[in-house]
């Protein structure tokens, strides 16, 4: 496929699975099967069991429709890859977006177990360039680490995704160490994916009345909280071989956090005893999904931002298909300040190197 001879690796597309799809992958003698089965009758899910999310096509707003793709089948994934010229795709669970609304119980772990099996059985296919991430059930870090241990060797599993919406405590807390340890042992990059997008799942502050506000801020709150905590708690020092990828937050927040954290660190470095360098230096070693690319009046602003965060080699193209703010590869291919080599890197090679595919 490719565009202009350049391989395209979409590092963040949402596979729009439903609970109905995964229920067969819960053992018959597991009492939780009854709950999931009850929760999926006629594809209607009682909100007492599982938070409402999106329409089955993944489109949450009126007037959004793009292609007649059922992004809930393998054929749909193939069709999308052909139409968008994707050579490789990293699929993220759609239902993981509810994780922030699942309190401390087994729903996260039961879902994650069944989802991984379903995806490996029906959808993910490394030979076809269709990869998946493990939806990390962070409420139970020990179980999450067991899942990573169990499935990290699967060829199609190339990342462990943490939905960072309102995680409390944030992901720098020591309770999550087993997750990072398992990922490091398996050489599996950690994906931090924002998700507090809508009025009802934006839990950081109450009182907003438009999705314009929560959609602009939610992903930022999620990943700003995560990056501040992960860096200041020294997670990159505790797990030095681990790669971190921040997704679905755009790019302009990164330099702001770099320089604010540096400012704080330089006067309070005795609080962050694990750090061996400025926070910004760690952040320049992280990777960032490009979506949603900010719309700027002059592309030189974007050029400066990319320079500030460590250059184009920190970036990975991501579409976020099928969501409303998805980015076409043209957001990268049409950036005239990038060299052809830099575009090749952002569109695929950086991700291929990090994910080892």
């Amino acid at each position: 496929m490719a565009i202009g001879g350049k391989t395209i690796f979409d590092t963040d597309a949402h596979y729009v699975e439903t609970l109905y799809d995964i229920v067969d992958y819960i053992d018959d003698d597991d009492p939780w099967k009854l709950k999931f089965e009850y929760g999926t009758k006629e594809r209607s899910v009682p909100i007492s069991f599982w938070p409402s999310l999106s329409r089955p096509d993944g489109f949450n707003y009126p007037s959004i429709k793009r292609r007649d793709i059922d992004f809930n089948t393998k054929e749909g994934v193939v069709q999308l890859m052909e139409e968008m010229s994707f050579d490789k795709i990293l699929l993220l669970s759609e239902q993981i977006l509810t994780f922030a609304m699942l309190e401390e119980d087994k729903r996260q772990t039961k879902f994650a177990e069944a989802y991984i099996q379903y995806m490996l059985d029906k959808i993910a296919d490394a030979d076809e360039g269709m990869y998946m991430s493990i939806p990390v059930p962070y409420n139970d870090p020990v179980k999450a680490a067991e899942l990573i241990d169990e499935y990290a060797d699967e060829k199609a599993v190339i990342g462990a995704c943490v939905l960072t919406a309102r995680i409390q405590p944030p992901m720098g807390h020591r309770k999550y160490d087993p997750i990072y340890d398992a990922c490091q042992r398996a050489d599996l990059p950690v994906l931090f994916h924002g998700g507090s997008a809508t009025l009802d799942n934006f839990k950081w502050v109450s009182g907003f009345t438009t999705i314009m506000e929560t959609h602009a801020l939610g992903f930022l709150f999620d990943n700003m909280t995560t990056i501040a905590n992960v860096v200041s708690q020294g997670v990159p020092e505790k797990f030095p071989k681990l790669n971190f990828v921040f997704q679905e937050t755009g790019l302009f927040w990164i330099p702001m956090m770099m320089y604010r954290m540096d400012m704080e660190y330089l006067r309070m470095q005795d609080e962050a005893v694990l750090l061996r360098k400025r926070p910004s230096e760690y952040m320049k070693e992280f990777y960032y999904g490009t979506q949603p690319m900010e719309i700027v009046p002059d592309k030189k602003y974007l050029q400066y931002v990319i320079e500030m965060i460590g250059g184009p080699e920190r970036l990975m193209y991501a579409s976020d298909y099928p969501h409303e703010d998805f980015d076409d590869p043209s957001v990268i291919t049409e950036l005239t300040f990038l060299t052809e080599e830099e575009k090749v890197g952002i569109l695929a090679k950086n991700a291929e190197d990090v994910f080892g595919v």
């Binding site: 007037s63 959004i64 429709k65 793009r66 076409d328 043209s330």
Partner: protein, 118 residues
């Protein structure tokens, strides 16, 4: 002038996309008047003219402490199905920023036939 179609082929509130000289153009019928826009969104070149056609939603500054009423204005817009960018069908201007616009074309109607002037 290029013949597009008969008047009755596009009803009020509907559009038809045609290809002229290698360029896709959307023809719209709004209350019996015809308009034409380039079928390429200024955002990411989505097929804007295939999107939903609606009246623009408006609102005014409300009395103190009240929420603004929302109402349909008389202006018709087309909404790009890729991301929701919304354009006035008569002017091609973006509903939220008139500094952004998609090219418009002249349309002529004669003898119940719609012509495009490109």
């Amino acid at each position: 002038m290029i013949e597009v179609c008969k008047v009755e082929e596009i009803e009020h509130g509907e559009s038809k996309v045609i290809k002229v000289k290698g360029v896709e153009v959307g023809i719209f019928n709004i209350e019996g008047k015809f308009y034409a826009l380039l079928n390429s969104c200024q955002h990411q070149r989505g097929p804007v003219c295939t999107g939903d056609i609606r009246r623009l939603v408006g609102g005014d500054v409300p009395p103190l402490g009240r929420l603004p009423d929302e109402y349909f204005t008389d202006d018709y817009v087309v909404i790009c199905p890729w991301h929701g960018w919304t354009y006035d069908i008569r002017t091609g201007k973006h509903a939220g920023d008139p500094g952004i616009g998609i090219p418009t074309y002249k349309v002529l109607v004669e003898d119940q036939t719609v012509y495009l002037d490109v």
